[in-house]
Symmetry: C2
DNA sequence: CGGGTCTTTGATTAGGTTCAATAAGAGTGG
DNA sequence: CCACTCTTATTGAACCTAATCAAAGACCCG
């Protein structure tokens, strides 16, 4: 009586590098090529149903190498993607070919959802590192939701979460200064890394300054300058792509950097071989209050 | 066998002004207090299922007066709302009490979706005019989706549409100039009004300059100035809340206003009692190209 | 090692905010 | 009906943040 779902397991036509061979007796083949429903729920951070008779629903993995495109704008939609490992970006391309970065999906994130409505992907997804993705064919998912209510509810939840995330993004772009945006970006990266079990204090950026700038609505120069400024006042350490978080709380509550004059003073005093150890006693005050 | 759903019709505890009296024999009572499934689908612009044995699922309407709050941030979530008539805004409140406008729901729009994930509303919805809303209790909806597959799919579609809309918003905030944002805002309003059967050329804004500015990531002064500038060069006519669209195409493709010097020239020539009827033949050229 | 991409930093400019003052409506109550 | 108030809108002037233009250094990969 469960045949409807199992027959749904078939490889996605538009994808390359698939060994479409086994769908009978689908156990874990060659490493982590398949995941069951429980693994999938864990990954998405949603309560995995106890009543699920798993092991019969298996989800195929696909690997992408750095720079490869997972899907492009306008391509017919039929599958959702869940990141098992690796880092990606999703982008919109405007009428002049300029990229607008929308998100940086990483472990546990779902993407491709924007294709549901028009049945074509509205954005483009690109691997920023080698990636291992889990395929979730939309039709299969729909059928699955029919028999597993929790899963269906979970999907609403995940989409709702995405929506809230976008709202926060809009709010940030609409109201925060360049420094505050970069600070929050670093904090959110730090927290994501922590969730994934990596260090929240020291990590490597997987994206360029240009991509960060696009994501935050800033130019790459402003991003670079802001990181340098954070470095100078000791909030972080920067060396190219590697970031060390020194003062997470300050970053978390930062609204605006001290006026350029005082920052210039700090710089000057630093260049003057840090004479007398501390001519700026107001250092930790400006970050929480500040303009509006 | 359908009792599960019909019993779900009960008034929402947190709402005022409900005549919770009739749920047996639920026909259209006192005006438009109830809608059936087909009306609901039409409103949401999704294909209404042919197979739906409607008339047994009725959805309650509620009226709100200008200024009333539909739900607040943190309030327990249990129902989605569909706008039947009227205008609203949804806002986020930041840590200092500043409003950030997220959307202006109007006829056919769904809101409240952001509450699904955390089971509490993440935003606040306020009526900008007298409104007639259709209640869609989330539990009832879930149950309904279980028997009507198309409806379930439709909800994914609507949520996906919202997500795409938010993406476009992020993209706009990240990349466009103040003039371009205001122009697109006017165009999108114009198109929405057209869809609703109103004039796309002449309409009244339901929101303040402040709310528009918040929505677009601008100050109210910039919005006001930009509208004045559009008025001066003949793209629109403005008088307080009333807007007349004069050149929709120019608005649609506008990226940046002509340099202030040339605009000043136009203004000057206009102030000079429009001598010789047309000293600015370059009018429709600058809007499509321009910076980046 | 060389070409390409990415990053940093400086100088300059301009778009948009901020502060401020005035005007125009919309209610409200005498 | 008009004075009074409160909110909303318009406009000006000064300032400032972030973009733009430019150049040099760092890194990567074939």
């Amino acid at each position: 009586m469960l045949s409807a779902q199992t027959s749904e397991i078939r490889s996605d036509a538009s994808l390359s590098a698939l060994h479409a061979s086994s769908q009978e007796a689908g156990w874990q083949r060659q490493g982590t090529l398949w995941s069951n429903l429980k693994e999938l729920c864990d990954l998405l951070r949603i309560p995995s149903a106890t009543s699920v008779s798993d092991e019969e629903f298996l989800f195929q993995h696909v690997q992408f190498k750095t720079g490869q495109r997972i899907h492009t704008i306008g391509q017919p939609f039929d599958t959702l993607y869940i990141v098992h490992s690796g880092f990606l970006k999703t982008v919109l391309i405007d009428e002049f070919g300029n990229e607008q970065v929308l998100s940086f999906p990483m472990k546990g994130d779902l993407f491709g959802v924007d294709g549901i409505h028009t049945r074509r992907y509205a954005s483009e997804a690109v691997a920023l590192s080698n990636c291992d993705l889990i395929l979730l064919p939309f039709k299969k998912f729909i059928a699955l939701g029919r028999t597993h209510a929790e899963l269906e509810h979970a999907m609403y939840s995940v989409m709702s979460r995405e929506l809230v995330r976008e709202q926060a993004m809009v709010s940030m772009l609409g109201a925060l200064s360049a420094e505050a945006r970069v600070a929050r970006f670093l904090i959110s990266l730090s927290e994501r890394f922590a969730e994934m079990g990596y260090s929240s204090k020291l990590f490597n950026l997987r994206m360029t300054r240009h991509e960060i700038g696009s994501y935050l609505g800033l130019t790459l120069e402003t991003v670079s300058r802001t990181l340098s400024a954070f470095n100078e006042i000791g909030l972080i350490s920067v060396d190219q792509r590697s970031i060390g978080i020194k003062d997470a709380d300050a970053l978390r509550t930062l609204r605006r950097l001290p006026p350029s004059s005082s920052r210039a003073k700090q710089v000057a005093s630093k260049k003057a071989k840090k004479l007398a150890a501390g001519p700026n006693p107001e250092a930790p005050s400006w970050d929480t209050l500040a303009t509006v």
